[in-house]
Symmetry: C2
């Protein structure tokens, strides 16, 4: 099947090369296709690593091993396999990951736990070890490539390549961040795996890097949804090579810590929004701002309840300012809410205030707003200071076409 | 818009009349349509009542008042308004319900808290008190009607009338149960309100009736889903007129208590399944049996995670035995699960066992099963004795067409 490029696509940005990061791609041919499907990022000695992983109880071996290895804080290599997720393959899947780690650690002279592996694609089929081995051998001797090639190689059903960059000043030193991500196109029997990698030349202690990533993740990747389904392989990692030569960031008290964390969160937010923009069948990009909640976490859950509601998503697809469905989604979220304090706006115009429709509110600007591509929904719960912003896309015939009409 | 009759529809059954229940319908004309939209069930003195209501934090005044009134255990009347849900209408909505209660209690000479009101339809518009008053006046003097007329009068976007019956022996006395329900068709800006009412001539104490209803509800109405969205008005009530003359059922130790509870659960299960069969755009009826869970409740949550997954629902629509999506939905449920103990079957054929695909499993009977109308998915978690059965429908273009393509 031909999946059309998302109408919400963005061009791939100019990204700086990151000192200490060497990218290479190769053809492992995990599927019968003519494209690079193995990505190999070699990282300089002294690279710090941090990662966040899927909460799925059925996570892949790649996730299980990566979650453990990230604790020691150092990385020398990242390998991403596209076309086979290696998920739900038991001990044979684990063997395949361990074979890759052994091969790469021998080639680079590093520990096996400094080699990180991700895989995305068909599930239930163990990753073929011979194809992986040949692919890595080829990658070890091939010419380095740029961000666009690496991004295309990690993609599966993505309709456009997704990358984002940022920079920050740490004292007098400028550090660069570059991130790439794949995710949100799915074809049976593949899953919506989201894999994101951010590279920086900043000198950052692993513990701080992990804390900054978790904080950024909570406000970005944890605030997007396409269909509420969670992959067994979702992974976001950040690698810091220390090549920029800044004074090492050890804690939030270190000079430049806030600036670095802000730049990291900026890249995470850009990448997260790009995943939504490639959501299956997406025709509208929806921003949901929740305020007045009992806590920030409660606001996020209310926002995700709205963002995951098929009735809200289809209403937006139909360009219908159906605030009743937003009331419904707030009510079912299981979070503190008071019907008679609830206010709802579309495109900045309040349709309901304090539990009552706004009589004679001007529907014309709302209707015009809903015809656009970027939709803004604001919900005020009137209870406390908690707030969150969540991003999603609409639910269209395109989603059904991609996931039901075409067979694997 | 014309919504086609669901391909999963069932004919309306023959239901016995229930002594002590008098049904009447009238034209309140809550919308500009030519049909009865007010249903009035008059109940004999001595009728016990029980009810379960939506857990929405934004519930309607009907739900708020009903939830309180049911505690005193007696009922003399039920009024159902179709075409206006009276939800999200603040104090004016509450006034409308209280006006109906006052009018009916005066006519019947009963307490206002013995008059139960439900409403379904457009939200954000207070129920017009004059139309309700005139409708009730008409209903008070019109000829009684049968189950089919009452069922049609409570419906909104339902594509077929849904009813179910059962009987039970209590000692030597045969008691009858008859239930009607509306739900699961939705058109913007209406919501998928499910309203169900069961009537019986059995003599049952209110406390036992409530307990039996809650127990039945947990295994029936709480185990169905169309799209995971929860109405602000969902209500299921049971009325027991005591006209059969059986020895009063006071507790689980009373003779016939188990038989009555089983018959009540039977009616609930039939009605719940009929709601799924009228799910928007439904083309397949899906039964999900979860076993081996840590507890029954955990099994139900895993089942609902599968049943609510858009990826699973679209796979079934596409007649694709995509067990990888079932793995994903188990993993994201937030319940105890072990990837390497998980087994999945379609139509009785195991596709995956103990965390691994079944090599060379016979796909032919599975493919044939998926082409049918009734789909069976079995999931064994391999952990404990917890089990549950959940029912849902597939996710098709019909759902998008009903909820996005047509505007309110």
């Amino acid at each position: 099947m031909d999946i059309q490029r998302s109408p919400l696509a963005r061009p791939f940005p100019e990204l700086p090369s990151i000192a200490g990061v060497t990218l290479r791609v190769a053809r492992a041919q995990y599927k019968t296709w003519d494209r690079c499907d193995l990505t190999f990022a070699e990282l300089a000695e002294g690279t710090s690593v941090a990662g966040v992983f899927t909460k799925s109880a059925c996570a892949s071996s790649e996730v299980e091993l990566g979650r453990e290895a990230v604790k020691q804080g150092r990385a020398r290599a990242l390998i991403v396999n596209a076309g086979n997720s290696n998920a739900f393959t038991g001990w044979r899947g684990r063997e395949a990951v361990e074979a890759i780690q052994a091969q790469v650690s021998a080639a680079l002279g590093c520990g096996v736990d400094e080699v990180f592996v991700s895989s995305t694609g068909v599930i239930g089929v163990p990753l073929p070890k011979d194809k992986a081995r040949a692919g890595i051998e080829a990658a070890l001797v091939t010419e380095p490539c740029g961000w666009a090639d690496a991004t295309n190689a990690i993609g599966t059903t993505d309709t456009f390549a997704k990358g984002a960059g940022a920079s920050a000043m740490i004292g007098d030193t400028r550090v660069e961040l570059a991130g790439i991500i794949k995710g949100s196109g799915m074809i049976a029997p593949d899953m919506a795996t989201m894999l994101g990698y951010i590279f920086t030349d900043a000198n950052v202690a692993p513990a701080f890097l992990q804390e900054a990533l978790e904080r950024a993740n909570a406000a970005t990747f944890s605030c997007i949804t396409v269909d509420g389904d969670t992959s067994t392989s979702d992974t976001v990692m950040v690698f810091a090579t220390a090549k920029a030569g800044n004074a090492r960031i050890e804690s939030w008290d270190s000079p430049g810590a806030d600036a670095f964390a802000a730049a990291l969160a900026d890249v995470c937010r850009q990448l997260a929004q790009l995943v939504v923009r490639d959501g299956e069948g997406a025709a509208k990009f929806i921003t949901i701002r929740v305020s007045g909640a009992a806590s920030d976490d409660s606001a996020r859950r209310v926002g995700l309840s709205i963002a995951n509601s098929p009735l809200v998503k289809t209403a937006i697809a139909g360009e219908d300012a159906n605030w009743g469905r937003v009331v419904m989604a707030v009510g079912k979220a299981g979070e503190p809410a008071d019907r008679d304090k609830l206010s709802i706006a579309f495109g900045g115009v309040w349709a309901a205030r304090n539990g009552l429709p706004v009589e004679g509110y001007d529907e014309a600007p709302v209707a015009a707003h809903l015809k656009g591509e970027d939709i803004d929904i604001a919900v005020d719960l009137g209870l406390g200071d908690g707030r969150a912003t969540v991003w999603t896309c609409d639910l269209t015939h395109g989603y059904i076409a991609i996931n039901a009409d075409y067979r694997s």
